[in-house]
Subunit: 225 residues, 2 copies
């Protein structure tokens, strides 16, 4: 008997829980591969069905459309980062130290041990970096927000903002800094690879270490009075 770890995600994200069946887990595993290869624009359920030797109709029984599938994957990532923060800062009481752990978790989530076999966290991070923000930059944000589809991100922002406020209770923008740390990490990893003139991070050295250094510098400067 294998111990099945299940990530709790908003039930509105899927039609049938993909974690509960072979086909469902196959959809997750190979959609990550395929979106990573093609980008979300060129990715289709048809192509995925061919890849996994199934049919379009079968995939539609799990997800309403590719936008919801992407949203499911991004939510998974948000939960994964939240989880990493929790286990990595388990025994840490100093809030400054906790913030450093948060930064490390945000930047190199992909280098941590995987949680479940069928999710390649490294590719998932690449997807989040490239296409993550597309899940809320739509005309349906308000509707989807009211259904709780962004709750994992909000929870993550809340967690981070609380540590920020612990470090400096007078800091006026804990939520903005929380999301900014997350978005900056993703954005500048992308810029470093594709639009280097838009960042100071270089891929010559270790991108992750540079990113961590920059974000640590940022929070230190912003939170020290």
């Amino acid at each position: 008997m294998s111990v099945a770890i299940k990530i709790a995600l908003n039930e509105g994200l899927y039609i049938k829980d993909p974690q509960d069946s072979e086909l469902g887990r196959n959809i997750i595993e190979h959609s990550i591969d395929l979106i990573d290869e093609l980008g979300i624009e060129a990715f289709t359920f048809k192509k995925l069905s061919i890849r996994i030797n199934s049919t379009e109709a079968s995939i539609y029984r799990y997800f309403l459309n590719k936008h919801l599938l992407l949203l499911y994957l991004v939510n998974w990532y948000w939960e994964w980062v939240q989880y990493l923060i929790q286990i990595n800062s388990r025994n840490v009481t100093d809030s400054k130290e906790r913030l450093k752990i948060i930064i490390r978790s945000i930047v190199s989530a992909s280098r941590e041990n995987p949680m479940v076999g069928y999710v390649n966290e490294s590719k998932l991070q690449k997807i989040v970096i490239s296409d993550g923000m597309k899940v809320y930059h739509t005309k349906d944000v308000d509707d989807e927000n009211s259904k709780g589809f962004f709750r994992s991100y909000k929870n993550l922002a809340l967690t981070i903002s609380q540590v920020i406020s612990d470090v400096n209770p007078n800091f006026k923008y804990p939520y903005a800094l929380a999301t900014n740390l997350f978005e900056m990490a993703n954005n500048h990893l992308f810029f470093a690879h594709h639009l280097p003139k838009l960042t100071d991070i270089s891929i010559q050295a270790n991108v992750y270490d540079e990113m961590i250094e920059m974000l640590e510098y940022y929070v230190d400067k912003l939170l020290t009075e």
Copy 2:
């Protein structure tokens, strides 16, 4: 005889310069309206052609596809912000003051006097906030970057980074801060309206003033030694 102001944009962005004809200017004007109404996903050349009483084929003579049209519009915005910074900081020598003007230009570009009649800068800013980052988050970034399609953004980042370095020559991340200011302004205006839990900016008060205050606080904290 009317004085036609012409914005210089990379020639690879269009097939035929839309600024040079009535139909071209119509495409610009009404694509801004329609993308603002529908979002870039639901926007099609077919719908635009109906709106302007023309045909799909005619629009295709100006732009290769809707992605290139969006890229054209976003480039216009980047040029427009650059232009605003230039004219608003004309006679300003103090670099701290210049940086404040930059922040104001980034945040409330839409409230400035329009440059040309057929471009609604206010709607254009809304498009950039909602869909702007989609122009480079594609599988074609590297190819399009090599064609110079993001040069206006890089120029803008350069301009801002130079002022940042003037304020504090020891600051290690002038480019990252430059793009971050721009992205933060857009992101948090979006969050304030749609995902308020992800920001500290509220639409209760004057969003623009709050944004300016936050960004000024950020640069002051980061650049003061």
